[in-house]
Point group: C2
């Protein structure tokens, strides 16, 4: 049955090419400008062909969302070799923030937009967002490592992990939606540094709180 395999591979091929075209448009022009028709034009197929490989647009959004998590895990992968859990926690936070700054479009798709999660809920209700869980599990383990070394007292590790995620996500989210920009300009006196280092500064403020929990 070699033919079936070839066909299957060909099918996968086109599916991959669709995603590649979608990613290209998405990165260069943003999500808004990434329409089904433009993706189809990019690979020189009819728009309706897309629907033979992806259920709807949210399906493509979720696929791109997964691509983004691939990039994020890549950044985090090397951090597994950092022995000191608190150092690792700090590095994870900085890596997360840097990822959001480097790939704002991906970040939006992964953590701000509703589409991908809507797809997940609508078409795979049994699966529990494997991409997110995988990264978050790493965070929990790191927090538990910190606790084992005497940090954070008797605090709940999962809640501590959620708090840390909320801090960096809040920072990245307000940065990307340009909410920070509009209030930073006003109140930036001598104390607050430039826009560039604002995220890092506020994150350090958080780290100072954590360090006093040792």
């Amino acid at each position: 049955m070699g033919i079936k395999e070839r066909k299957g591979r060909h099918k996968e091929d086109l599916k991959a090419r669709i995603l590649e075209a979608a990613k290209k448009l998405f990165i260069t022009k943003g999500y808004e400008a990434t329409s089904i028709r433009k993706i189809a034009a990019e690979i020189e197929f009819s728009p309706t062909t897309i629907y033979l490989y992806y259920k709807d647009k949210t399906d493509i959004a979720y696929a791109l969302h997964q691509e983004g998590f691939g990039l994020l895990r890549e950044r985090f992968s090397t951090l597994e070799y950092v022995d000191d859990p608190f150092e690792r926690l700090k590095a994870m936070g900085r890596g997360y923030i840097q990822f959001a700054v480097d790939h704002p479009d991906f970040y939006e798709l992964m953590f701000i937009m509703k589409e991908p999660m809507q797809y997940l809920q609508a078409h795979h209700p049994e699966e529990e967002w494997p991409e997110g869980e995988r990264v978050f599990d790493g965070l929990i383990q790191t927090v538990e490592g910190c606790k084992a070394r005497g940090y954070f007292g008797d605090m709940n590790a999962e809640e501590m992990a959620m708090l840390s995620w909320s801090v960096v996500h809040g920072l990245c989210s307000l940065h990307i939606t340009s909410h920070f920009k509009h209030i930073a300009e006003k109140c930036s006196q001598v104390a607050i540094a430039k826009q560039d280092t604002l995220l890092e500064n506020v994150f350090q403020t958080y780290l100072q709180l954590l360090e006093r929990m040792k």
Copy 2:
């Protein structure tokens, strides 16, 4: 010149009616389903009439965004009578979270979506987001009140305010986009409480960090 006044009032009247119709659709059906044509149908006018009163759709989005800030300030207004600044800070956080839970659509328009800020940047570059500044100024003052009473040591008040905002916004944002829901189900063992109190619990974890800074 009584006629001109009447005309002006009439103009304001229709502008207000458009916004009211937009708000009604927005609250009941969400932002996606709130189209120019549906707003027009609601007030029984032609779709193009909208453009005589609002520049484009982001203009309407910003007007709704302002409405939302009116609601938020309403919640915060009574807190000005709380003398103890740390108690006020805690109450502001809880009020902010409760606002996001009660009015998720408004919250999205105010702090998650890009449209309103885009409108601000495009059509009023000189103004620096007065709604946001007004609320944020209140937060800074509260943090400075805390510092005056010996909290937060020598930490920068503005950065501390930004951190606090990031924490609650991160929580609310991840809650509304249903990111939290998908990871909470998995990891919720005995320790982590129900979905309902998750935001409050993580916020309390943050407060515990703050309290140790006294």
